[in-house]
Amino acid sequence: MKRVFSPLGILSIVCLLLAMPLMVSAQAALPDDTTLVIGQSVDIASLEPSLVTSRQEANIFGHVFATLYEISEDGTLQPYLANSYSISEDGLEWTFTLNEGLTCQDGEALTAEDVAYTFQRAANPDNAFTGNTVGFVMPGVGYVDARADSELEVTIVMDERQSEPLRLGLLSEVYIHCKDSYEAMTLEEAATTPIGSGPYRVVEWVRDDYVLIEKVADFTLRESGFERIYWRVIPEASTRVAELIAGNVDIIANVPPDQIEAVNNSGTAEVQAVQGTRRMYVGFSQRDIWEGEGAEAIRNPAVRRALQYAVDVPTICQQLLGVECTRAASMVNDPNSNPNLTPYPYDPAEAERLLDEAGYPRGEDGWRFDITFQGPRGRYLNDAAVVQAIGQYLTDVGINVTVEILDWTSEYLPAVREHNVGPMFFLGTGGATWSALYDMTDIREPQGGTNYTEWNNADWFAGWERLANITDPAQEQEVINEMLQIMYDDSPWLFLYFQPDFYGVSNRINWQARRDEQVIVYNATLAE
């Protein structure tokens, strides 16, 4: 058979065509000196400030919109749009005084009327908002109404007295926007063309690709570094890390622990590990829907206490999270926790002794009791691995654990919301450094939404009663300490750790990661 050259010819031409772009420009354009690029795992859903629900959204909105007060880098509350506030005698009316000469990004003056409007617009049922402001802040502070008292004074009315930092911190999550501009827009328009009040304005949003924001020249409340910030959406962790190492992205969150070394060895970027505020724990569900020996066993505080000794938290941190960690001794972040509490040590022998004592000796088959332990995947740092590791430790002290790992969005989250995870379950809830009560609000009522274990300890809830009538911070801390001691002893949670966060940061820039999972970058600068 004769050789045929034609197909070969076609093939080589196609290959040549494919290779051409390789030769044309071997290097992709790296970000220039006035541009900062951040890689996030998910896109924003909307540019409507009253629809913000996720951390990634809040990161972008925090640059486009300003708030009354803000939570600063060191975790304290600082004035921002407002310069001060006062509280009425009964604690129900909070009056904020705004700075002078504020404007929104369309040039409209930002006054007390606009702040009141922000709250009223968010609360308006016709708008059907489901974001943090309506879903979390307003019920959290007991919002009733807002009114403008004068040009610069705005009063927010609440339905009961509440701890000062807690309320101020919550109110600091409301993104203020201007009345005239937002009244002129339909909800659909507002969802795509925001008119901000912060140091950056939105230039372009290409869905699932990036949000580009640029510096507002006449914003005076703070000094910003980069002219433009790209918030790129890069869902796959390996791709994010590859882009960071290649120098195309400056900051990424959630570097997988096993890739930290690769980033640090790259010469182009380094990983910053920060002690986060999210409290990771194993919950012992007290609900009576659970049947079986295991569910019965963990209704006994002695068993729960025993299990505190069974899990080697420091090793889990070191091996699976890639960082040394201090084990949590309470549900409250430092520096607000009870300083006298020491974390339970890893002591499997002690765990076994206490379990024997509590009436659950090993049976002939080596098991003390059977129990199901549920955990999510795809939500927390290395969650599936941590859950499986905890399962192994519990197995080692003679508990016949069935580990069930469920997908976060489709399975775990709905079950968590219904308090249907358990009898043992793995969870982490966001915390704060500016108020112990913020952290403790998780267990505010026996059947409350976030009291996922439905722990119902009379002494603990009596503590909340007492707190309602205390205004003195020192006295408040005293009650808090007592309550944390009760929780430590009764152990509705198996305390694990405060989740560390890993940020990959390019050597091109100077930037310091924060503890509270917020990525705030207006203060980032180009490295020398």
Partner: protein, 315 residues
């Protein structure tokens, strides 16, 4: 979807049944043996599949360790590492939780193959039955079944899979069911076409005359004569289901991580790749590749052997 490819029937004689009536068993076997010995690759493929099947069946007996036993202090041990005593405790290394990769591979064969085979059996059974019904009865039944097939074809399969797994939750049973149901259209279309061409054959007429029931005619008379192309499709399909399982694991919709599967191991390994733990990706990757390769080679051979005219069916 309505156009009939009439040319195939005009240019070539309609596909003759592989064997009219039943071929003498011995000669078929001999033919198979000869054909196999001539071509070397199918033998290699059969050996590979045999090993995988042995692992799958005798997993607990041959696995050196408990595949879920963790040891955090020994995590990410490289393969072929010897401890102080000179023993090679983890021949293929350990994973991110310090579990034995070799044992997980062996147990993984079990789930991966079971998922592949079961899904294909479900899809094949469903599709063949419906396709034969459509072809045999024709008329309204045919119209209805083929319309459903059109709907399924127009619905990107991956979206349906994701929807079912997201809504019902990922798990072995849901995975097998949805991957199986996703396959039925292919079988149905082929079974229908073949049944139509056999419906009016003499042996079917004969069966009808002696008063056989519809289902008897379908399954006893027609089915043996149309099974060849279905088997070819099935062997390719097992391969594609194994790949689909891997992709779904990547999207977080595979089998839960407490159950070792090859796809799941491969998907988990991506966090360790940049860190240099190559063995976590290479071994399950090789297992998947070899198995899929073997199934494809075998599929090719079965097709050529049973009926060379079926070339172009499947992949």
């Amino acid at each position: 979807m309505e156009t009939q490819l009439e040319h195939s029937e005009k240019t070539q004689p309609p596909p003759v049944p592989v064997a009219i009536g039943r071929p003498p068993q011995a000669s078929a076997w001999r033919r198979a043996r000869h054909s196999l010995l001539r071509a070397r690759w199918p033998i290699v493929a059969i050996i590979i599949l045999l090993i995988a099947t042995l692992f799958a069946v005798f997993g607990p007996q041959v696995s050196p360790k408990d595949p879920n036993r963790q040891n955090l202090m020994l995590r990410l041990t490289a393969p072929f590492t010897r401890d102080e005593a000179g023993a090679m405790d983890f021949p293929l290394g350990t994973d991110a939780l310090g579990r034995d990769v070799l044992s997980r591979l062996i147990y993984g064969a079990r789930v991966s193959l079971a998922v592949g085979v079961t899904a294909v059996v479900i899809g094949g059974f469903l599709g063949t039955s419906l396709g034969m019904m459509a072809g045999y009865f024709g008329g309204k039944i045919d119209d209805m079944i083929m319309r459903i097939a059109d709907i399924q074809l127009a619905f990107p399969f991956i979206l349906l899979t994701i929807m079912v797994l997201v809504v019902l939750g990922p798990g072995v049973v849901n995975l097998v069911l949805v991957l199986g149901i996703g396959q039925w259209v292919t079988y149905a279309r082929i079974a229908r076409g073949q049944t139509i061409s056999h419906r009016e054959k003499e042996y079917v007429e004969a069966a009808r005359c002696i008063g056989a029931r519809h289902w008897q005619i379908m399954f006893k008379s027609i089915f043996p004569n149309i099974v060849a192309p279905l088997i070819v499709i099935a062997s390719f399909n097992v391969a594609s289901v194994i790949l689909a399982e891997a992709s779904l694991s990547f999207l977080g919709l595979g089998v839960p991580p407490t159950v070792p599967t090859w796809g799941g191991m491969l998907a988990e390994s991506r966090d360790q790749l940049l860190g240099g733990s190559w063995w976590l990706a290479v071994f399950p990757g090789l297992a998947i590749m070899l198995t899929v390769l073997a199934l494809n080679i075998l599929g090719d051979w079965v097709r050529d052997f049973l009926d060379p005219r079926l070339r172009g069916v499947g992949f």
